[in-house]
Symmetry: C2
Subunit: 376 residues, 2 copies
């Protein structure tokens, strides 16, 4: 008759065939939010339009000056730094496209029951902070170090496990230069908003969002592989519950289309009028630079190469692509797919795993082109 | 065989018994978002945490200096004003709690199919702008004026009707002082974010969100009652489709509880440990000042009066309330309800209308209090 943590958690599960989104998924969907796709027009996503996924509660940190980051474990000189102390280190700004590892989950069959993203769990911002490798060099990593563990201030329970949110990187990834990991204190030139980790977060360019630990309060160097919940239970690519699975790491290539014309409120179907319709959108990959974006206006039967704009030195950010499309009256299904320099491309049919992670199925946008004489 | 607007719109409908949230409702839920309830701690909701509901697309307005507001119709001197012109008028700042008229819709049985809000479609901000009555006085309303119509730049189709978003107020409401309607160009001291109407929106303190027209581009004084879609088809309180219904206007009283303890990721159930648990939250009403907030820890059987903090002169904003609760091991259902000076209170059982508007059913927050010896 005890009252224990396990009582509030249900096991991970898949939705039954034709099971609609349930109350638990809806509660997540009303808290978290995606990028409204029309915001793909902005090079940098304005605050409030960038996707947000919070596992537990957003911590309330009214006084950022009191925040302290500890860096310890297997180091010669443990550090304790406030924001002023962090600002004394060299400052780097990196433009990063951040995507949730669960983006696309709600389109899967069967659907893993969790935050029900469609395609919009993405955003691009400029993050400013200290390269993590400089902090680790200052502390001095001791021989035998294996992983670097990052702890956030967000606290909750997940499948019966009470925890502060924690993730790790290998020492190699944590100290590498490609990408260079940041301990960031600014987003688009302003202090971090509460929902993006105020006052401090990790930024791991090219990696899915789960690696970018928010409300970062501790960095610990450890001498064996980190086995925390978010590393070994969640965020694994597995087909069956008992599989150990592969870790979720870098972002697979994806392109999104800024839906043309105007929408119906409820169906979100797009409406255009006959004639040339400029199409544009963004494409990104955390694995290798995007080299090609194609559009199909006939549900994937034929594909047209788009014009891909230069990255202007922003390797870790999305690139804009453009194509003029001539719309004729009738129903059309627009699709877009990206390919990166390593030859990774987006599938036309879903790949599937139990967590609904790292999917990059091509986006499909239904468009109705009105008759020429349709009433304005 | 024509391709017409009506093809993209489905009629308004109610969900079948036990019908889960569908793809169309989910598409709205991933675009729009509520206030994560832990953000009730903030007097002013930080950008990105305030609720957002956009009917169509968020217009892309890269150059606010080119924006023009026209004010015409039944006036002696039509006006055309840019932001600089508006700033030349006296400036007022008002703290306003804004709530979506559809808040609570997804909890109704049967569920009206639309944006599926639970309880979180709310936020509080300080809006700065010009009192609308000063602009109307400058233009000079002619005799015979009945309504003032507000047109936004957001364009879409809804139930087959292509439209710019439009709403009206009576001349009396538009020129009144209680509340004083604003044409606002700043939110919390900064230019409006894109999703909140950049560069200009209407603010009608005490009214549900549909009245606060965003991306405001035109104000027109008319000599007969406005019959636009959002005034006479949507946003009506009706039991049957054929009823004309009553208009949705001012915000009914509501209190929300900042969920105590910490959450389970998926169920959002709250976990606390035995002992005193400080409870707090906010309460508001657009009808009359909130005079009383009560909390129940036993699913509504008994109620305890909370301490309601003063409004500090912010009549149109939420007020904080507090109560210390002693948690004992076991499952608890916390509820909170507000009463205003006109005696309006929150119902324990749902009221219902086909649009799911203006509901204010009491919030219910399941909490598990662990045993004293439960593992940390």
């Amino acid at each position: 008759m005890g009252h224990r943590l396990g009582d509030v958690s249900a096991p991970a599960r898949l939705a039954a065939p034709d099971e609609g989104i349930g109350p638990d998924e809806l509660a997540l969907a009303t808290r978290n939010h995606g990028l409204p796709l029309e915001a793909l027009r902005h090079d940098l996503t304005p605050p409030g339009l960038h996707y947000v996924l919070t596992h537990y509660d957003i911590p309330y940190i009214p006084d950022a000056t009191a925040w302290q980051l500890t860096l310890g474990g297997l180091v010669r000189r443990p550090l304790r730094l406030d924001l002023a102390g962090l600002r004394a280190f060299p400052q780097v700004t990196t433009r990063v496209t951040l995507e949730c590892a669960g983006n696309g989950r709600a389109l899967l069959t069967p659907r893993p029951v969790s935050q029900p993203w469609l395609v919009e769990a993405v955003g691009t911002a400029e993050w400013t902070g200290v390269p993590l490798r400089l902090l680790l060099a200052e502390a001095g990593i001791e021989p035998g170090a294996v992983d670097v563990v990052f702890t956030g201030a967000d606290h909750g329970v997940e499948r019966g496990v009470e925890q502060d949110y924690q993730r790790s990187l290998s020492v190699e990834d944590a100290t590498g230069g490609e990408p260079e990991v940041l301990v960031a204190y600014a987003m688009n030139g302003a202090p971090l908003p509460p929902q993006h980790g105020h006052p401090l977060r990790l930024v791991v360019p090219g990696w899915y969002g789960m690696a970018h630990v928010k409300w970062l309060r501790d960095v610990s160097v450890v001498d064996e592989p980190f086995t925390g919940f978010q590393q070994t239970v969640a965020y694994r690519l597995r087909e069956r519950p008992e599989d150990p699975g592969e870790p979720v790491t870098r972002i697979a290539p994806r392109a999104l289309l800024l839906p043309p014309g105007f929408p119906d409120f409820m169906s979100r179907t797009r409406v255009v009028r006959p004639g040339e319709v400029p199409l544009e959108g963004r494409a990104w990959s955390g694995r290798a630079p995007v080299t090609r974006v194609e559009v199909s206006a006939d549900a994937g039967h034929t594909w047209h190469e788009t014009v891909l704009e230069p990255d202007d030195g922003h390797r870790w950010a999305w690139r804009r692509w453009r194509l003029a499309w001539t719309a004729t009256p009738g129903e059309h299904l627009l699709s877009v797919r990206a390919t990166d320099a390593e030859g990774h491309s987006q599938p036309l049919d879903q790949s599937w795993n139990r967590g609904g992670f790292a999917g990059n199925l091509v986006q499909r946008v239904p468009v109705l082109c009105l008759d020429v004489d349709a009433p304005a």
